[in-house]
């Protein structure tokens, strides 16, 4: 691993805004905060994966993966981040390094040529170059290649140094953020500055869900300069440093970017969520309050409250028909991070009971919120091994599980309703409308008669039981 990468990882680990870090002493802090991976028992994505997740929704740039095929080939074209403009980000680019490239040390040359080819064909505003394990081991200097290419070809080439072995997906998010901060943010001055500009960090616009939120802000005269990164354009991200406020949507993912922007450009930030009615309202309030503090006309507060009142009333009215069927239903929430509490609040709002919520990727602050919401921390769990999860669901400890696609089949094979709340879903849950959608989806899933069907005994279960009884009787004689 290059010294530069080591230093960058150390820097990320040392994140002062990370509440976990704040509780550690200096030595512990140096070790970093990513949990060590257990061979034969690890599950998550790698740092490269994390960097891609954080940056790929920059829709108009070329995302070029430097490495052998698997890194790009097995992973591209999988998420439902939506774009209102360019679809270039959905194109998979890789150098597809061959054995020859590795043996002959041709990696850098190949990378440079690949960058040139990509620019020649697609003329993007920038090329994002992702390092992966193999070039990192053989010492390809992607920073140098990017620098050279930028100069030679006139298109910014952004090196993202997050090879898979460096650590977890989470670390990769941050390394992606670092690259943005170091090479992109602040490189262009914005054409328009309204005073009521904000950025939203850590919002990937899954299934276009941010489009349920953005118009609310539009109505209040708040301009979203850049969503980092969801339906984002390169120029907007590069010129996002003059806004009045950064809102962090996915707490830990890009916290380093938010902090560094505060340090360098004086942009304050806060952490909020657009999942659930209460949290959406709270986030709007926070934005309004901070912007007013930063000089926006004070009427914004009242206008925000008026909007909230209308929207909440409307959302509740639309939710009402579903309430009776959902009330008291038991939910197993298996996600983490900000969703571990924001969805809890949302589900409680409609009278559902949370039997467990996982706090795998949650911060201490996240956990505190859950404690407040649920009155106890008894329901917080870390990882639930699949066997245990299956047993819980089979026993009927929960009526439905909400999680990402990976644990889907544990729930389904236990014949238990399941809803996707992570990246692969095709449904938009953000904002007021999103909450109504979530409730409708919960209702649809829980009331589907298929669950009764599935639990119908097979014809031979009856027969076999009888046969067993007979056999038992006979053997008893």
């Amino acid at each position: 691993m290059s010294e530069a990468l080591k230093a960058r990882i150390a820097d990320v680990f040392n994140e002062p805004s990370c509440d976990k870090n704040q509780a550690k002493d200096a030595t512990e802090r140096k070790k970093g905060c990513s949990k060590p991976l257990v061979p034969g028992a690890a599950a998550g994505g790698c740092a490269f994966d994390g960097a891609m997740i954080a940056l790929q929704p920059l829709t108009d740039v070329v995302h070029l993966v430097h490495g052998p095929l698997a890194c790009a080939g097995n992973g591209w074209d999988g998420r439902h981040s939506a774009s209102s403009g360019s679809r270039l980000f959905r194109t998979g680019f890789t150098t597809d390094m061959s054995e020859m490239d590795i043996v002959m040390g041709n990696g850098e040359k190949r990378l440079y040529r690949a960058i040139r080819e990509a620019i020649a064909r697609h003329n993007p505003p920038a090329v994002f170059v992702y390092a992966t394990c193999v070039p990192a081991i053989i010492g390809d200097d992607i920073d140098a290649v990017c620098k050279h290419a930028t100069e030679k070809l006139g298109t910014p080439c952004i090196p993202i140094n997050a090879p898979g072995f460096a650590g977890s997906k989470n670390l990769g998010n941050k390394l992606g953020g670092e690259a943005l901060f170091e090479h992109v943010i602040g490189t262009i001055e914005p054409e328009v500055v309204t005073g009521a500009d904000i950025n939203v960090l850590g919002e990937y616009n899954l299934s276009g869900e941010f489009w349920q939120v953005r118009p609310l802000l539009d109505r209040l005269g708040i301009r979203v300069h850049a969503c980092i990164t969801g339906d984002a354009k390169y120029r907007d991200v590069a010129s996002c440093h003059r806004v009045g406020l950064n809102m962090m949507v996915c707490s830990t993912a890009l916290i380093n970017v938010a902090r560094k922007m505060q340090e360098k450009y004086g942009v304050p930030y806060f952490e909020g969520s657009f999942y659930g009615i209460g949290d959406t309202s709270e986030s709007l309030r926070m934005i309004a309050r901070i912007l007013v503090r930063r000089g926006v006309d004070a009427s914004l507060i009242d206008r925000t409250e008026a909007l909230i009142a209308t929207e909440e009333a409307r959302a509740w009215a639309r939710i009402e028909p579903y309430r009776a069927a959902l009330q008291g239903k038991k939910v197993l929430l298996y996600t983490g991070g900000v969703k571990s509490w924001s969805i809890v609040a949302a589900l409680q709002e409609i009278g559902m009971e949370i039997v467990r919520t996982s706090v795998r990727k949650s911060t201490d602050e996240d956990k505190d919120r859950i404690k407040v919401l649920m009155g106890t921390d008894a329901h917080m769990v870390n990882t639930i091994p699949p066997r245990e999860m299956y047993a819980m669901l089979k026993r009927g400890d929960a009526d439905i599980m909400l999680s990402g696609g990976r644990s889907q089949f544990t729930a389904l094979k236990a014949k238990t309703p399941w809803l996707d709340i992570n990246q692969e879903r095709h449904v938009a849950y953000a904002g007021y409308d999103g909450m109504v959608t979530l409730v409708a989806e919960l209702h649809r899933s829980l009331t589907n008669p298929v669950w009764q069907e599935l639990r119908r005994p097979a014809p031979w279960e009856v027969t076999d039981r009888e046969a067993e009884r007979t056999a038992l009787l006979e053997s008893a004689c």
Partner: protein, 462 residues
């Protein structure tokens, strides 16, 4: 319990129904060495023939008594006689199935009497088994004609049982008109897997499944043999599929004493279980492991597929048994049957359709209701394609006819395997309609006042 709505209109627009004589002809095509003969004008046969050729993509040996102006006035007995003689001479069939049409029935002729006299008079016909079903076009639809023909076959050809003990473990299967060759293959395979010997009447899987014979054969090749029909009294049990097969099943029971069970449909987990439970009981054997695995695969398909059914607004139009079976299947997977249109009111099962209303009507009724209820999927035969285009709603083609797609008869929707396949087919239609979201979809957020159907619209694309 669904309310049955009889529309009071005089105009039928875009017919849903196919006529009863055609249903009878299809049944006769499931007999080996057979020629169906429609007793009517040559157009009656011509329309039925062209449609069936297009549906089955096979040459179809369908004949006509060619009633003309003279016969219309004088009566059709002579034409019937001439037709029987001509086609027996030319085609050497083992079996001729006669089905009457509205034309001869309107005159109220005694066709059964005519036929009796002809057979007495004509020794040339003694080696052919000739069966008559009275199927005027103005009464009922495809299911009715099929049922009447099978009833007529049983009435004419089944012999009273001679021995007290059945010779082997025979089970009679009376499939409904909408069973494809693949459905029958599944049924046969499943019956055999219990050590039972199925006799299927009629068996279009032997005659209309698309094969290439080595030589020219003017009649059907394959199908139930008249000998096997004669021996249906030797079975342990008769299983009829669909309420429209109750009449023939009960006649067979009355004639032979073979007990019968009418299963409303074989599509869906529950109906498949019922069938398997029945075979278990009849055979006294446990279900074989391949069948158990099939069931497990179906459960998995239900789990994977239910996302694409839940809350989906479905419009179905079909003959009563097909409608009821399909509606039950869709409802069991979580879909809402927002439109149910039956071709006829001739069935008690219509009340079982899991919908508020069943309209007895045509494809225009389906189209209007589907539009009004924002249906997201149309389910009917291929004549629904025009409505599908106009509404911009995808069509699941099922029933008769399906002439604009290939391989319909090799499509199984019966039993564990068929239900699994149907789930995939529907899910893939839904998946094919999925699109990437655009900002415009989130209409409410943009114009906050206007209440929109967005929640439903988005979540529908789960």
């Amino acid at each position: 319990m669904a309310e049955i709505i009889h529309t009071r209109k005089s105009l039928t627009t875009n017919p849903l129904k196919c006529s009863a004589p055609l249903g009878a002809a299809l049944a006769y095509l499931g007999i080996a060495g057979s020629v169906p003969l429609l007793h009517g004008a040559q157009g009656c046969t011509s329309f039925a023939l062209v449609l069936t050729v297009r549906h089955a993509r096979e040459a179809i040996p369908l004949q006509t008594t060619a009633i003309d102006e003279v016969a219309t006035i004088m009566g059709g007995a002579e034409n019937l006689e001439e037709a029987l003689l001509n086609l027996t001479k030319r085609m050497k069939p083992r079996f001729i199935g006669v089905a009457t049409t509205a034309l001869v029935e309107t005159r109220g002729e005694d066709i059964a009497g005519d036929l009796k006299l002809i057979l007495e008079r004509r020794p040339e016909l003694k080696d052919v088994r000739i069966v008559l079903a009275k199927t005027p076009d103005f009464d009922g639809a495809l299911e009715d004609g099929w049922s009447k023909a099978v009833t007529a076959i049983i009435d004419s050809l089944v012999e009273p049982p001679v021995a007290a003990v059945p010779l082997y473990q025979q089970v009679n299967i009376l499939p409904g008109v909408h069973q494809t060759a693949a459905d029958i293959e599944w049924i046969v395979e499943t019956v055999e897997s219990f050590g039972l010997v199925p006799v299927v009447l009629p068996d279009i899987s032997g005659s209309l499944d698309g094969t290439v014979p080595g030589d020219y054969i003017p009649t059907t090749y394959g199908g139930t043999s008249v000998e096997a029909i004669a021996r249906m009294g030797r079975a342990l049990h008769t299983v009829a599929i669909g309420e429209h097969m109750r009449a023939p099943a009960e006649l067979l029971a009355a004639k032979t004493g073979v007990p019968c069970t009418v299963l409303p449909t074989l599509t869906g987990l529950g109906p498949s279980d019922e069938f398997v439970a029945l075979l278990t009981e009849i055979s006294g054997r446990p279900a074989p492991s391949r069948l158990r695995r099939q069931r497990s695969q179906l459960l998995d398909a239900m789990l994977d597929g239910h996302f694409y059914f839940g809350g989906k607004r479905v419009a179905i139009a079909a003959d009563p048994d097909l409608l009821t079976g399909l509606a039950g299947f869709f409802a069991s997977m979580g879909a809402d049957i927002v439109t149910a249109v039956a071709s006829t009111a001739n069935s008690p099962v219509l009340a079982d359709v899991p919908a508020a209303r069943v309209v007895v009507g045509d494809l225009q009724d389906m189209e209007d209701s589907a539009a009004a209820s924002d249906a997201e999927l149309l389910v009917t035969h291929c004549h629904g394609r025009q409505a599908s285009e106009r509404l911009g709603v995808p069509l699941l083609r099922i029933g008769y006819p399906v002439f604009d797609r290939l391989g319909h008869t090799h499509r199984c929707t019966a039993g564990y395997r068929g239900t699994r396949n149907l789930i995939f087919e529907v899910a893939n239609i839904v998946l094919g309609e999925l699109h990437e979201h655009t900002p415009d979809e989130f209409a409410h957020a943009k114009s906050i006042v206007e209440e929109t159907r967005h929640a439903g619209a988005t979540s529908a694309t789960c």
